[in-house]
């Protein structure tokens, strides 16, 4: 018999999991890039990897304190954004797409190679960088919570901190998108030549947007590694695609979209794979193995991306009025 309570409880936990927070933040960064500025950044996985490795290497190899490690990660992603942006932001949109996807792969391959194993841990990745972060935890030891949300002090600390960052940055994004800066950014998305003809330095604004959204991705990368290890295989192109799926699900040019999109994405995915996997176990789907059940959700994500783009391009939170004019 299927343990429905377990399936629902696992799914509910995804609502506030640090992974959900990390994806929400990465998607928020992409919302700045793609939704607001119209930049096709397919290298968000690279920005996340820089956050993860920037933090972990700073702590492990250089013994930096938490704040300095965070700054190193941010600094690395600013440099990365500049390297990506300088050659491509003057070119047509699809060039940025190709360069960002290539650059993210370059980063991943460099983090994976045996050549720099001493620093990156190559394919095995890195571990043991969480001590200084855990030491900042003001929550006394113990297990707290209610219902399905029972966690120890470290897990709560992680969740509280992760979601605080998400909320703060969402507020910041909301603020700047209502400002004249946001107006220029949205204007660039619509037609950059028109904005240029009005005396705005389009190149500089696109660069600012690329850096800002990239830094969000970097912070997301740091939140992402706090409940797990740094493993280079996590930062594949498909990571970027999942973040895009979340963004499109919620609505590309919205603030709440990426956050709620991430929650829906993870809750549904957990529910779905929990259900399928237990259904296979219970013999309800005799033609399927456990392994195949695991793959089914990737197929589902792919199909979902297609359907959303075709039938609801503005996402869940997108303005309905926009739909009539979506290009």
């Amino acid at each position: 018999m299927i343990d429905w309570i377990q399936i629902f409880s696992n799914a509910a936990q995804e609502l506030i999991s640090p992974t959900t927070a990390a994806y929400a933040l990465a998607a928020l960064g992409l919302a700045i890039h793609f939704g607001y500025t119209g930049l096709l950044n397919f290298g968000q996985a690279g920005f996340m990897a820089l956050g993860a490795y920037g933090y972990a290497i700073s702590v492990l190899s250089f013994g930096l304190p938490v704040w300095a490690a965070i700054l190193v990660g941010i600094g690395a992603s600013v440099v990365f954004a500049l390297i990506l942006g300088i050659p491509t932001l003057r070119l047509r949109a699809d060039y940025l797409a190709i360069v960002t996807i290539a650059a993210a792969e370059i980063l991943r391959l460099i983090f994976t190679t045996n050549t720099f194993e001493a620093i990156t841990g190559s394919a095995q990745g890195l571990n043991g960088y969480k001590g200084s972060f855990a030491a900042l935890n003001p929550i006394p030891k113990g297990t707290y919570g209610f219902g399905p949300f029972q966690y120890n002090e470290y897990d709560w600390w992680l969740r509280i901190l992760g979601w605080t960052v998400v909320v703060l940055l969402a507020l910041l994004t909301w603020l700047i998108m209502r400002s004249p800066w946001g107006r220029v950014i949205k204007g660039i998305r619509e037609d950059e030549d028109a904005v240029r003809a009005l005396g705005k330095n389009v190149y500089s604004y696109k660069m600012q947007s690329l850096i800002l959204g990239g830094v969000y991705g970097t912070l997301a990368g740091m939140i992402f590694i706090l409940p797990r290890a740094v493993v280079p295989a996590n930062y594949q192109t498909s990571l970027t695609f999942f973040v895009y799926a979340i963004l499109l699900l919620g609505g590309a040019a919205t603030i709440l979209g990426p956050i709620v999109g991430s929650m829906i994405f993870w809750v549904l995915l957990s529910f779905f794979s929990g259900f399928i996997s237990r259904a296979v176990e219970a013999g309800w789907l005799p033609f399927m193995t456990q392994v195949q059940a695991g793959q089914l959700r990737f197929i589902l994500v792919g199909v979902a991306i297609m359907l959303i783009v075709i039938f609801r391009p503005q996402g869940i939170f997108g303005n309905k009025k926009e739909l009539a004019f979506v290009k």
């Binding site: 400002s179 004249p180 800066w181 204007g187 904005v195 003809a197 005396g199 004019f325």
Partner: protein, 304 residues
């Protein structure tokens, strides 16, 4: 299309703009824009090859010529949207060579586009506000603190509403620009250009695709610009409109300036007829032959 429409009041023509003969490249009493030896080739084809041209200040100048004459390319070169192979050009005494488009705009030279570039998913009001210069809230760091820019924003908004009212778009200010008609978008684009108080307004085919009902008000607005002390340079196909509102006409063909003059005399210039009908027309036809001018007009109307 708009052939039968005339401005509501008879426009006051500015005269005495040039020095010496009205010939291609002639000097002007008070030029605002001077181009020298500007050339641009596309794959071996010379799209623009302008030896010398001066645009008079405080007047309405029309840039006409058959399709493919290089008018829009010349516009793009002047405004920094394209880079010429050679040449120098200056605006108000300041060189514009190698100046990026956004800086050209900041100097007070604002252009519009042949295909309107209304920012579809921005509201009409936001479109207008984007046009304002020197907004402190356009800096990313100041943008985070609304109290730093709120006051300026209010000033910009009242100016935008005022302009929208003048262009009769105030009822639509909260709508997406994408919901406007073609003519309304042209109006919006012109109004948006005025938000920055430009000294020279360059309009690329302001009448193209505009509903005849709106043509008149567009013409009035262009004349209005002049009365407010702005200089206007526009590309247009409609000869009637050119004749009615232009003080000076520059004719381009095959990338070169082939004639200049006031709108009445320039139409009779053989070079202009050459440009429109091809170089091998029957030379027996008198240049004053009104039928010939009619033929030109028809030809032009056909083009649209």
């Amino acid at each position: 299309m708009s052939s039968e429409v005339t401005p509501t009041s008879k426009p006051v023509k500015t005269t005495g703009l040039h020095i010496g003969e009205a010939e291609p490249g002639c000097r002007k009493v008070d030029p605002i824009l001077i181009a020298d030896g500007v050339t641009r080739t596309f794959g071996g084809l010379k799209a623009v090859d302008v030896d010398h041209v001066e645009i008079p200040r405080g007047a309405i100048t029309a840039l006409i010529g058959p399709n493919g004459a290089g008018k829009t390319t010349f516009f793009n070169l002047l405004t920094g949207f394209d880079k010429p192979d050679t040449g120098k050009w200056e605006f108000d005494g300041r060189s514009l060579a190698h100046v990026p488009a956004y800086r050209v705009a900041r100097m007070g030279l604002i252009r519009t586009f042949q295909l309107t570039k209304a920012l579809g998913l921005l509201s009409v009001l936001d479109n207008m506000k984007l046009g304002a210069k020197d907004q402190s809230g356009e800096n990313l760091f100041r943008a985070m603190f609304p109290f730093l820019w709120r006051k300026q924003e209010e000033e910009i908004e009242s100016k935008a509403v005022e302009l929208l009212t003048r262009f009769k778009l105030d009822a639509k200010q909260t709508d997406y620009a994408a919901s406007l008609s073609g003519g309304q978008r042209k109006l919006l684009e012109m109004a948006r250009a005025l938000m920055s108080d430009p000294t020279l307004v360059m309009l690329d085919e302001p009448m193209a695709g505009v509903n005849p009902a709106l043509t008149q008000s567009l013409l009035d607005h262009i004349l209005d610009l002049k009365s407010q002390g702005m200089t206007v340079l526009f590309v247009e196909h409609d000869m009637h409109m050119v004749r009615h509102i232009a003080d000076w006409v520059v004719v381009m063909a095959e990338g070169r300036i082939v004639a200049e003059g006031d709108p009445y005399t320039v139409m009779e210039n053989p070079a202009v007829i050459d440009a429109y009908l091809g170089a091998h027309h029957d030379s027996d036809l008198g240049v004053t032959d009104t039928e010939h001018v009619e033929a030109i007009k028809e030809l032009i109307d056909d083009e649209q």
